[in-house]
């Protein structure tokens, strides 16, 4: 098996055996969305108006929550040194790590989002653009998050630092994601915003592993 696929399988297997991480992220996502109707009141018109924003913000925070374990465990037990020393380019290893992170956090969020859309009374006509937007946008969030996770390896308080680093960089997917839902309900259509989301992910696909691998090399020096 190619080491790229091997690394993904290794990470997936770890996530599957530990189990807790996927559950934690999903639980946080669901709870965060459910808290909003309590906070802003149960009126359906109000909820429908802010539904897409609630789901996107909750998904973003859930993704941030899981970022610190992207490289931290491998960094702590020395596995990251072995990965860096292997014949596979470190950029490819970062891509594998990011892919595994997306499969264990981003994809479950996408799958659960239609159910949560019911809780916040999202217009059914907007559902496809919400799910498609999350599907296109969450890979970019995993990839950009990998840069921040690599930069903050070994820092004194990585959690707070990671959040501060990553939130400004997460604004573009958030803006285009919620705009896509908004636009799908008007004559404009969600197409342009979804294309921009796809562009973000496609740009992050080659660039983010470059930056994250450079950051990992600094951390392992």
């Amino acid at each position: 098996m190619h080491p790229f696929l091997g690394l993904i399988r290794h990470d997936l297997r770890l996530a599957g055996r530990q189990g807790g991480d996927i559950g934690l992220v999903l639980g946080f996502f669901v709870l965060a969305v459910i808290l909003f109707p309590f906070g802003i009141g149960p009126e359906p018109e109000l909820l429908r108006r802010v539904a897409a924003g609630i789901i996107w913000v909750a998904a973003l925070l859930a993704a941030v929550l899981s970022l610190d374990r992207l490289f931290a465990a491998d960094y702590a037990d020395g596995g990251l040194d072995l990965i860096a020393l292997s014949a596979m380019p470190l950029e490819l290893a970062v891509l594998a790590k990011g892919a595994a992170h997306w499969l264990t956090t981003g994809l479950p969020l996408v799958v659960v989002s239609p159910v949560l859309a019911l809780f916040v009374d999202l217009d059914p006509a907007a559902l496809p653009s919400l799910v498609l937007g999350l599907l296109l946008g969450t890979p970019a969030m995993s990839l950009i998050g990998a840069i921040a996770a690599a930069l903050s390896l070994g820092a004194r308080r990585p959690g707070v630092l990671l959040t501060l680093l990553v939130l400004p960089l997460y604004l573009p997917p958030l803006i285009f994601g919620t705009a896509a839902v908004e636009a799908s309900l008007s004559a404009e259509g969600a197409r342009a915003h979804l294309l921009l989301l796809a562009a973000l992910t496609l740009a992050a696909l080659p660039l983010a592993p470059l930056a994250a691998a450079a950051a990992l090399r600094q951390a392992l020096d």
Binding site: L151, L161, L167, P168, L169, A219
Partner: protein, 253 residues
């Protein structure tokens, strides 16, 4: 030029000479610009006297962007050539840039209240400048987050390069999106749309801000270099001057 200044000792010598000149020049130009823009320049026909906020706001915004560009270029130089002063320069410039960004946001808010009727509007220009402020804060936090200072410096340099994607977004946000913030009126094709009676004091203020930045930058870089020197001396066992020198003990026993 760069390689001449790469030697920290030579940098200390040259910057020591330049420092008082830069400081007094920025004080004189800023005093001139403040009197000119806050007293002598005519009030705007629409905005009235509140247009005077712009003489602070616009140069601060220019500096906020330029200083980030400076931090990013210095970071690139530090990463590529391991230039000893580039990293110090980037780290010294970042808090100054964050301060300019904060001044820009605060004055814009003060101007927006009477003009737009709101302290804050979530339009593309304002949002992207707020993101710039958080990028500065993230850079400063990352640089100081490690026990090993050189690791923090290199991680910060990488972050500065990643954050540079925000600069074109800020610059062109008023063209790409339909914003409440007015489009570019000074640096545009077809010349500025501002009358000379306001444009000249605006440029005087901009020059004053740039001189202030240069002065603060050199001051902070010299402080950082002196701190490093003091730390190195302490590591080598040279005692602080305040502490009594311990009794001599032969090292060979």
């Amino acid at each position: 030029m760069l390689s001449t200044l790469a030697n920290p000792a030579r940098f200390m010598r040259i910057s020591g000479v330049a420092l008082p000149w830069l400081g007094s020049a920025s004080a004189v130009v800023l005093a001139l610009g403040l009197v000119w823009s806050l007293v002598l320049a005519p009030p705007d026909y629409q905005q009235g006297e509140s247009v005077r906020i712009m003489f602070i706001h616009v140069p601060a915004a220019w500096m906020a962007l330029s200083v980030y560009l400076f931090v990013a270029i210095a970071s690139a130089v530090a990463l590529v050539w391991r230039h000893p002063l580039a990293e110090i320069a980037a780290q010294a410039a970042a808090p100054i840039g964050a301060a300019f960004t904060l001044i820009c946001l605060a004055t814009g808010s003060l101007w927006g209240r009477p003009m737009w009727g709101a302290w804050w509007v979530w339009d593309a220009r304002l949002t992207s400048v707020l993101v710039l402020f958080f990028l500065y804060l993230g850079y400063i936090a990352l640089v100081n987050a490690f026990d090993d200072a050189s690791r923090g410096g290199r991680a910060g340099s990488l972050l500065a390069l990643v954050g540079i994607v925000n600069l074109p977004i800020i610059k062109f946000s008023v063209d790409w999106w339909n914003t409440l913030h007015q489009p570019a009126s000074v640096l545009r094709l077809g010349g500025p749309t501002i009358d000379a009676s306001m444009l000249v004091p605006l440029f005087v203020m901009a020059v004053g801000f740039a001189l202030l930045f240069a002065w603060l930058l050199l001051l902070r870089m010299r402080t950082a270099l002196n701190e490093r020197k003091a730390r190195a001396l302490r590591l080598y066992g040279v005692p602080d001057r305040e502490q009594p020198i311990p009794a001599a003990r032969p090292a060979w026993r």
